[in-house]
């Protein structure tokens, strides 16, 4: 089958291809920013973990779990660095939370 396309059609196709490429590039760049922003938001609280309430700690742990999935989709070195960093933050939140729970238990 022969597809005949005039110059207008070619132009439309070119614009469409351009938009698609731009979308792909932006998505990749923006996607990276999103996981990094989420990671920073989760780990930013690690230095004040002792001052967080039980609900805040639970929220921070959930936040870490969500970011973990996004980091797992990144390339090898990023995974290696950021999964370890995230694990340290998460472990700290869990540690403080468990301590809080123990303290709240009736003696």
């Amino acid at each position: 089958m022969k597809i005949i396309m005039n110059s207008k059609g070619r132009m439309k196709l070119l614009i469409l291809a351009g938009c698609f490429s731009l979308f792909t590039i932006l998505q990749a760049a923006y996607g990276e920013d999103v996981w990094r922003t989420d990671f920073d938001a989760a780990c930013a609280q690690s230095d004040e973990a002792m001052a967080l309430s039980v609900p805040e700690l639970k929220k921070a742990i959930e936040q870490c779990d969500r970011v973990q999935k996004k980091i797992e989709a990144q390339e090898e070195t990023v995974r290696k660095v950021y999964l370890k960093r995230l694990q340290m933050c998460r472990n700290l939140f869990v540690f403080v939370l468990e301590t809080r729970m123990q303290e709240q238990k009736p003696k």
Binding site: A44, S46, D47, E48, M50, A51, F95, V96, Q102
Partner: protein, 267 residues
Amino acid sequence: MRKIFLVVPILLVAVGIAWAQGGMKKKKPLPFEFGSVTINNYSQQAGVPPVVFDHWVHRQYYTCRLCHVDIGFGMTAGSTKVRSVDNMKGYFCGTCHNGKMEHGKKVFASCASEYTREEYNIRCVKCHTLERSAAKENEFFRFSQKMPNERFGNGINWEIAEEKGLIKPIDYLEGVSSKKANLKVTPDFAIKSKVEGMPDIIFSHKKHTVWNGCALCHPDIFMGVKKGTSKYTMVELFEGKYCGVCHDKVAFPQTDCQRCHTKPAQG
């Protein structure tokens, strides 16, 4: 006379066993060697000598937390398994050793997939070398001359050095560190000494969190957060657990009893 023929071989065997079990006294590192870490995960396979990392060079510029949390270096030699490709992508050593960062002078780039013999002799051997370097020793000597003295370790009291403003370790790297809220410092507390007459330990959270943050020690190194729930013995500490993860290896040695056992004895 016959007894000598019996006693001498027995003594020789006993010394041999002691030697084999590592019973001889461990060699005390020289001041410039204290805190040096040899990393050899992939170097020799790649045909280059292992990396000898000097803590003293780096700790004058950066906090422990920046490298061991934000950059992601493990707390034991070789545990991070850094590859040259990781460095070239700008992670681990390559976070700073990228040929762009400046610290008075430009920080040299860490690794390259291709290099000339000349580059190897100038750049690669800065890290990949097991040979004793007179230049490095001199550099340490010149640096330590300006620093407050300490009896043990590398002979530098880093805590006083920071107090006096002689070193200003950075704790934040743009694009690497997460922006954090102000550090909440937990109060200092005393740990009771088990030996009679030995002053109790005053553990300063403030001194430790300034350089380490919270996540570096809790819960990986110290599990117990409630005072008195964990019992530590000096044997474990000298085996490299708890305080021994840093002290003896990089931070001042645990043989400097008075640095920790500071609580005045009650009369």
